[in-house]
Each structure stands twice: as C-alpha cells, then as structure tokens.
Amino acid sequence: MTDRELLDKIRNPETTNYGFNMLVRTYQQKVYWHIRKMVIDHDDSDDLTQEVFIKIHRAVHNFREDSQLFTWIYRIATNECLSFLAKKKRRFFLPLEDVQRELASKIDNADGIGGDAIQKKLQKALLKLPDKQRLVFNMKYYEELQYEQMAEITGTSVGALKASYHHAVKKIEDFLTTD
C-alpha cells in the first residue's frame, strides 16, 4: 500500500483504524531500528516506538503533506530519540561520559545484542560521537538514506550532512584504530 493510499484510508472515518494499523505495520520496523540504534536498550526502544506511533495517530489527520509521510514519521522518531537522550543526561545530572559508559555496558552485557567483538567495538565507537552526528551516521551507513531525505528529516542542509558523515567516519576509524 502506498503512502497516499494509507493516508486516504486513515482519513476516511470508516477505514481509519484499518488504515492506521496498516501504517504501523508498514513503518514499525524502520521506526524501531532507527530508535534502537540510538538508545541501545530494547525496553526504551519499545516504549519510544509506541510513543512515536501514538504521536503519529494524534497528528496524522493534520498532516499537511508538505513532506513525504516517510520523512515526517522519521522526523517524529528522531525528535523523540534526541529528547529521550537529552532527558537521560539531564535527569541524573550525568556527564556525557557516564551516559556513554552506561550505553556501552549495555552493548557488552544486555540481552538481545549479538554480533562479534568487532561489531560491538564499532557500536561502542559510535557512542563516542555526539548524538546528532551518531544519528546522521546511522541514517547514512545502516539505513542507507539519501542525503536529501536526511536533510528533510533533520532540517539540516545536504552539505552539512555530508560533512558531518565524513567527520563521523573519520572519528570512528580513529577510535577503532587507537582503542
């Protein structure tokens, strides 16, 4: 089902529940993985994913289609992630390193995280990046989004995103080499 069809179904009072259910089924994995790579923990990701879809449910009737449905959903998920991480840092007055260490220990010890040593090392190297740069890296490297799409999601220029990704790759390679 295309985004257009999904929106038509949601806006029709007779098919709104069915349409929203289809929207969740279409985008749930993309939203979840986008969040999971940022917050690492499954329970946090689950809660945030649900929160994102609740917000979408509340706002979809007013969605003006200035952007694609896909980028609009990604933008909500991205904002939700960044606020969650910012809140986490504020809540316990934790310095950045402590949050980074907490997330790194989850990569080593939490259930539901596989991969070999080098994969885990890459994930821990990623945690050393600022949240927004980590987000840019994930969207480009793992989710293979176009810079134009990323620009729409983040509200940043394509040039700035390219520079950010380039620097992120360099920093990660440095971390992987020195650590």
Binding site: N21, V24, R25, Q28, Q29, Y32, W33, R36, K37, I40, H42, D46, T49, Q50, F53, I54, H57, G112, I113, G114, G115, I118, Q119, K120, L122, Q123, Y141, Y142, V169, I172, E173, L176, T177
Partner: protein, 140 residues
C-alpha cells in the same frame, strides 16, 4: 582500521514475535489514552464547579452562623426579666462603670421617657449621695 573492513550488520535483536504484537500494543495504548482524554473533561468539570460551590457554601454557613449568633443573644436577653438580670450583674464581677460604658446611650430617648421613670429606681442613700457629689464635681 577502515570502516569498509567491518561487515555491515545489525547486532541488535528483538524478542520473538515482537513486531507481530507491536501494532496491538500500540492500539491498546491509544485506546487507553483516548479513555483518559474522554474522562478528563468530566473530572475537570467537576473540579471547576466544585471549588466555587464549596467556597460559597462555607461562606454562607459562616455568615448565617455569625448573624444567627448575634441575633440569638439579643433574643435570649429579651426573654430575661429585669430582676434576674440585675441579680446576675450584682453577683458577677462586672463593675458599675463597665456597665455604664457598655450601654449605648444613643439608643435611649430620655426626652420621651416618662417623667416619673427615675422615681422607680431605688437608690441606696449612700449611692445617691455619691452620685450627687460626682455630678457636682463633673458639671458645676
């Protein structure tokens, strides 16, 4: 080490059947939030009116009680005859001066009082002498 040397792989896992159950979990949360939203107006409605109503009730009770207590004292004293009142005042520790001060003289119309009204008062000889001296000292 170069990034290309590392296999691109998602190392995170989800519990089995997680994505099958997620739409239902989301639907449940939406329904529970909608129920809260529907019950909120009646909650806020009740509080919106309950507090002013409570305030008005308390104020009414307070005003009524204070009015009733002041009028009831007057009513109560009206039922007491003069002898009992004089007997009470003479037994109590209230001095004559205090009684005179507490009387609202404006309430009395001495002009229209009967001419023989003072004759009904039974002063003792010594009290009368003292009163005459006081009047003399005060006014002459």
């Amino acid at each position: 080490m170069k990034l290309e040397e590392i296999e691109k792989k998602n190392i995170f896992e989800v519990p089995e059947g997680y994505f099958d159950a997620l739409p239902m979990a989301i639907q449940k949360r939406i329904e529970s939030q909608e129920q809260k939203t529907f019950s909120l107006p009646s909650f806020s409605f009740s509080f919106k009116y309950a507090f002013p109503l409570l305030f008005v009730t308390i104020a009414t009770v307070f005003i009524y009680k204070s009015y009733y207590s002041s009028t009831s004292t007057t009513n109560l004293l009206e039922g007491v005859n003069t002898e009992t009142l004089v007997a009470y005042l003479s037994e109590s520790e209230i001095t004559e001066e205090e009684i005179i001060k507490s009387v609202n003289h404006a309430q009395f119309d001495f002009q229209s009082a009967p001419a023989n009204s003072l004759e009904t008062i039974d002063f003792e000889e010594t009290t009368l002498d003292k009163l005459c001296k006081d009047v003399e000292n005060e006014y002459f």
